[in-house]
């Protein structure tokens, strides 16, 4: 399914497609790009996009964005996702960058934005805490003013790829007496500061994506406060809105469905009754994808006409993650007995994995995908948002 494209937009799409085909680094085509690449390898594509001027589709031209229309941004997202490219680090480009250019001061824009675009700085997100998951407004990490500095103490968790990070953007409590939402500030902290400790959290797939970040008497210059003190909740909500866009994941789901079909063809003989069952299950998921894609295109068309999509992002998050989980489950089932094996992390070519190559990441993907309905606002929270904001309940 495609948008009805003007000839300019169609030409743009072709240009993006060609650029990806000619420039996406072979080195990044590994079995599982999310876990198998080093920091340097995962930045290769980022640097290529930066050089081309395409690293930050969302950003206004004055800060280094390409100045694309809603439709162009969507086409770029669609093409990169269909081609299976590793998206540039969202925490840097999609999340903290827009907060800085929207709410930051000139010095902050000058200092941070170019380094985000170039990939020189790697950012991580200091939002969740052990006691603040879905209920983010209760963050307890404290920042106390001491002359030109804040002294920060607290414990952030589920911090994705903090092990690579140069900077962390944090929600900190600056006014303990105010109502939860009104005493929060948005602070940028150098990960090299004394008192910052990163501890790996290993997840059920065996990989190391997330971390605990401990902040003990960390001295943060006051100039690293974004916007106004105690207004951090506004900025945080602005950022979460960006986090939930493009959660539909149509391109990714389509790629994984194609791979699943290939596995089913290879693993299950056509005269096995299970073959037909798989075909039917796959078809159902394809229809889910088709319906979600149609919804996405409808919303994009509305946005292009200047209509606010409202909480459509919540719908995309719910269905996009449910669909992808279903695909990983079906893929795990399709490889049959080999579903008992799983790659050990850190991944090494020396370790033996049984069965055909196409099955080697099925178990870890299946397990890892459980997180999708939990993170970025759990699917229960997303349903609450729709109930309230759309249905008025």
């Amino acid at each position: 399914m495609e948008l009805n494209l003007s000839s300019e937009d169609a030409a743009f799409r072709d240009e993006v497609r060609t650029f990806i085909a000619e420039n996406y680094p072979q080195e990044m085509r590994v079995p599982n790009p999310e876990t198998d690449l080093t920091k340097e390898q995962s930045l290769l594509w980022h640097r290529i996009l930066h050089k081309k001027g395409w690293i930050a589709p969302l950003w206004p031209r004055e800060y280094g964005g390409p100045g694309w229309s809603v439709t162009q941004r969507f086409l770029f997202e669609q093409e990169t996702s269909r081609a299976g490219t590793l998206p540039p680090l969202a925490f840097s480009v999609t999340m903290v960058g827009p907060v800085i250019y929207t709410f930051g001061n000139e010095a902050q824009k000058k200092k941070f934005l170019p380094r985000i675009l170039s990939g020189e700085d790697w950012w991580c997100q200091g939002y969740s805490e052990p006691g603040s998951g879905s209920d983010l407004a209760t963050v307890r990490t404290k920042a106390v003013r001491d002359g030109d500095h804040y002294i920060v103490n607290g414990h952030k968790t589920w911090t994705t790829l903090a092990q690579h990070a140069d900077w962390i953007f944090c929600l900190v409590r600056t006014d303990p007496s105010a109502k939860p939402q009104s005493g929060i500030s948005f602070l940028l902290i150098d990960m090299k500061s004394p008192g910052v400790t990163v501890r790996p959290i290993i997840t059920i797939d065996g990989s190391h994506e997330v971390n605990d970040v401990f902040l003990e008497n960390v001295r943060v210059p006051v100039e690293n406060l974004v916007g106004e003190e105690n207004k951090g909740w506004t900025y945080a909500k602005f950022l979460l809105g960006n986090e939930r866009t493009s959660m539909a994941g149509i391109g990714r789901s389509t790629r994984y469905i194609n791979k699943l079909k290939q596995i089913v063809r290879a693993e299950i003989p056509a005269d096995d009754p299970a073959h037909l069952e798989f075909l039917r299950d796959i078809a159902r998921i394809e229809l889910d994808v088709l319906a979600l894609e149609a919804t996405e295109l409808r919303v994009v068309a509305q946005m292009a006409r200047g209509i606010d999509p409202g909480p459509a992002a919540s719908l995309f998050k719910i269905r996009g993650t449910e669909i992808f989980q279903a695909i990983t489950e079906l893929t795990h089932r399709a490889i049959g007995n080999y579903g008992l094996s799983i790659r050990e992390h850190p991944v090494s070519a020396n370790r033996f994995m049984p069965g055909p190559d196409y099955g080697h990441t099925a178990s870890e993907k299946y397990l890892n995908a459980r997180k999708l309905s939990i993170y970025g606002g759990s699917n229960e929270i997303q349903r609450n948002i729709i109930a309230k904001a759309v249905l008025g309940l």
Binding site: S128, G131, S132, G133, S134, D135, T138, T157, W158, I201, I202, T203, I204, G206, V210, E267, I268, D272, P273, A274, E277, H332, R333, G336, N337, Y338, G339, L340, S341, I342, E344, R351, F352, M353, P354, G355, S363, Y366, L367, R370, K371, S373, I374, Y375, S378, E380, R383
Partner: protein, 376 residues
């Protein structure tokens, strides 16, 4: 239909519970799984000492005569504690096949070693293209004197790296997918021509790809009767694995309920949210149904009822789906914590996922359940 345990069965249950509570806490298990070998000889010996490895065998064969109900009691507790030692492979699969099909000499020579914990066994039936079909066998065996010589490859053989003996299915006649012509053989794992490539499984255990090149094996059961023997064996294995799943479900539900009463968000415990209450009610219902069906199956196994195999497939499917539902929701309701290696919840999730693959997934068994009805 609630099972009233005999005094003896109660004793078995409480002694397994005590042993596991004292020696198989989650952190102790974690250490066992992390070791190179991946299981604990010491635990295995403790199981033997307690009589668990002898429990289901008939007294004639040197066992305690507890039958499928003793297996059920043991496996339910093993499921609650995520025991990794190869009880199913050694006692239920191999031991069961030897008792079911072996000659008196074979029973006398093999079962005592299983019962006293000195030998570990496993069953090697899966092949690259077999999926869940016992009859899909390309490994070949040819007669040579009083012995047979086997060549071929078996895939994802659970517990093979730990095993002293394998029971291997191999073709003595017929084509690759013929039901007839498959026979079972006892193979010494250390014998010439047996080659293992070991790996970790999703549930923290060990398995191997097994290649057989001109390996000497001893026929177990009648020549060409392997598939029928494996089907009976699978029914018993399903009884055991379903008990294990129900044990895991019980723990997941208890952990989730407990968490929902202590975890606070938005100024209240998350257990006060109706959407999560209903979810946990559904988990409770899934547990009740799974427990009942599991007991029904094991009582039927114990009585040797007819139509057992169809019931076994039905239970494997229904309890497999129940386990999957509960495991999914337990992870979801624990939020990020449910995703961590640190918490036990994810490990129950992985064990249930593993059980659901072994001997056929829930989709395979619901279809078999339907087909056996149509055939009746």
């Amino acid at each position: 239909m609630d099972i009233q345990f005999t005094e003896e069965q109660e004793l078995l249950r409480s002694s397994v519970q005590r042993l596991l509570r004292d020696q198989y806490a989650f952190e102790a298990r974690r250490k066992i799984v992390a070791r190179e070998e991946g299981f604990s000889r010491k635990q295995w010996d403790a199981f033997a000492e307690l009589g668990l490895l002898a429990a289901p065998f008939s007294e004639n064969a040197g066992g305690l005569g507890g039958g499928p109900l003793s297996t059920m009691i043991i496996m339910h507790e093993f499921g609650r504690h995520l025991v990794v030692e190869p009880f199913v492979e050694t006692v239920v699969l191999a031991g069961g096949l030897i008792e079911q099909t072996g000659t008196p000499e074979q029973q006398q020579s093999f079962i005592p070693g299983i019962a006293d914990g000195s030998t570990i066994w496993t069953l090697a039936w899966t092949e690259k293209a077999s999926r869940f079909d016992f009859a899909n066998v390309t490994t070949r065996a040819r007669r040579e004197g009083s012995d047979y010589v086997l060549s071929g490859a078996k895939t994802v053989v659970n517990a093979a790296p730990w095993a002293d003996h394998l029971i291997v299915s191999a073709r003595t006649a017929g084509d690759d997918r013929d039901r007839g012509g498959v026979s079972l053989f006892v193979v010494d794992r250390r014998t010439t021509g047996v080659d293992l490539q070991s790996f970790r499984t999703i549930d923290g255990r060990r398995a191997a790809e097994v290649s057989l090149r001109d390996v000497r094996g001893q026929l177990l059961g009648g020549e060409g009767e392997g598939v029928a023997a494996l089907e009976v064996c699978r029914d018993r294995a399903i009884g055991a694995l379903c008990a294990e799943t129900v044990g895991a479900i019980a723990e997941l539900n208890a952990a989730t309920l407990d968490y929902s009463k202590t975890r606070k968000q938005f100024g209240t415990t998350i257990g006060s949210f109706q959407v999560l209450q209903h979810r946990m009610v559904d988990m409770f219902i899934a547990h009740q149904e799974a427990l009942s069906l599991m007991q029904h199956l094991n009582l039927s196994l114990s009585a040797g009822d007819s139509g057992l195999s169809r019931l076994a497939s039905g239970a494997k499917s229904k309890i497999g789906y129940a386990g999957k539902f509960v495991a999914d929701q337990a992870v979801q309701l624990h939020g990020g914590m449910g995703m961590t290696d640190e918490l036990n919840v994810g490990h129950y999730f992985k064990r249930i996922s593993s059980i659901n693959i072994q001997f056929g997934d829930p989709a395979f068994h619901v279809l078999r359940y339907a087909q056996l009805d149509a055939a009746a």
